[in-house]
């Protein structure tokens, strides 16, 4: 029983973080059909903002809010710097500019801060543990689960209940038609990048909370996780990305629990093999995207 509780908490907290990462990537992909390779750097920006404010004496929550705002701004900047100038011209160009922007941000961190891990301030809460039904778990995991539940609910509300959310869903299936109804293209794209940055910022705080430090390459793993979860989920659908995130977390956690010490080093190889099996079984991903071609 204790074991089961431990397992469920681990899956849900890792899955919550993965789901938020995937959602941040797919919100932009759904609208532009382009992967933002600089997505991981939004997490890096949040991390370094925390580091730079570490001596400021501000309350942690204020620093965290600033970090999230910086990630949002970096998201919007990605649109202006890497996407907007070349978006209309060529898909390949955007892939390259987003790669370039990612490298640029990483190198800026190397150059102006340091290649070595920098300590990020964490609230005392993050390091406390709690006991639930005999299972001992870091409070951080429960905070991650709560944050994921709240953000996913807010996100669903935004997408279903607000005109902006409805317009973003419409733009994801048929951008030109949405524009012909008066929905401004730039507003929709900037909003997608801002939401992406917001999710990356929050995820960044939770993700960095696990290790306590930030390095220039911190964004690579979240980008990879987000990408795989999105592919499993079907690339086009928001709910698919969330499901993909939780499924990937289930796979990772199961492997963590079952593989022997020697094999654990190769966990990612096992994970990817399973992902390949899933994709062989369902090449389109688990959830079909918005059905653009359906009866239109």
């Amino acid at each position: 029983m204790t074991f089961a509780i431990q397992f469920v908490i681990d899956v849900l907290s890792l899955g919550g973080a993965y789901a938020l990462m995937a959602l941040g990537l797919v919100i932009v992909y759904g609208i532009l059909r382009l992967v933002n390779f600089a997505y991981g750097e939004l997490i890096m920006v949040a991390g370094y903002t925390m580091f730079l404010f570490s001596g400021s004496g501000l309350p942690w929550l204020v620093m965290a809010a600033v970090a999230v705002i910086m990630a949002v701004l970096a998201g919007i900047a990605t649109d202006y710097v890497a996407f907007r100038p070349v978006r209309a011209k060529s898909v390949t160009a955007v892939l390259i500019t987003s790669f370039a922007f990612s490298t640029l941000l990483q190198n800026a961190a190397l150059l102006f801060i340091s290649p070595r891990p920098q300590t990020v301030p964490l609230p005392a809460l993050f390091s406390q543990t709690v006991t639930i039904g005999g299972a001992i778990t870091p409070l951080r995991n429960l905070i991650t689960i709560a944050a994921a539940v709240i953000l996913l609910a807010l996100f669903a509300l935004l997408m279903r209940r607000t005109v902006l959310g409805i317009a973003m869903r419409a733009a994801a299936t048929n951008f030109t038609m949405a524009r012909m109804l008066g929905v401004p293209a730039n507003l929709i794209i900037s909003s997608a990048f801002a939401i992406s940055g917001f999710l990356a910022g929050v995820v960044g705080l939770l993700w960095i909370g696990r290790i306590g430090t930030v390095v220039p390459g911190i964004g690579l793993e979240p980008l990879l996780v987000a990408f795989i979860a999105t592919v499993i989920g079907g690339m086009r659908s928001l709910s698919g990305a969330v499901i993909g995130g939780f499924l990937l977390a289930l796979i990772d956690t199961t492997l963590n629990y079952t593989l022997s010490q020697d094999l654990l080093k190769f966990r990612d190889a096992f994970t990817f093999s399973l992902v390949i099996l899933i994709l062989l079984w369902r090449p389109e991903g688990l959830v079909k995207g918005p059905a653009t071609g359906q009866r239109t």
Partner: protein, 237 residues
Amino acid sequence: MLEVVDLEVRYGAIRALRGISLTVKKGELVALIGANGAGKSSAMMCIAGALKAAGGSVRLVGEDITSGKPESIVRRGIATVPETRDVFPDLTVDENLTLGGYTRRGDAAGLAEDRAKMFALFPRLAERCGQPAGTLSGGEQQMLVIARAMMSRPKMLLLDEPSLGLAPVIVDQIFAMIAQLKAAGTTILLVEQNVAKALSVADRVYVMRLGRIAASGTAAEISAATDLSALYLGAEP
């Protein structure tokens, strides 16, 4: 209301529109007819801002709107119903209508009033309002896109082949609704393959052939023209 002068559209080397000129006056219903590939849809999408003009100009109530962004053209009062219909299939009927009113999103009372008006005009939509639009039949989708376009209270409505692929009974219903919109004072530019239907509701008609206007006149004149089929089918006069 709408003045198009020497409008040209190219797709790479293909010249789809080779300089067409037409006007639509306030309250008028003007039909644009012509064989497949004549360039009717290209003309409409260019007016709507979804295609860049390679030459010529489009004016709406005297203002130049040539090659404007689609979102600013609808804000200026031209609502477009493309040939491909383009309901948002995953959004409900209601959400589709909400987006139709995007340009007036501050005006909750006006939007509620217009929604009620559209449901009165298209009762079928009221029954289906919570359903994803992709599950509607072709005729219902056509009703939805017309209603959606009207939610912006356009000065002018562009309709591209509303009868396309619909059963004759449904075509009759759609045309009855177009006649009602016209009676309510809406200015309409209608592209149609169904010439008889188009002539029955239109005030004036332009006949297009190979990217040019081949003939124009009142609906009565065009109906009476003996060479209509020649113009329409593209034989040399």
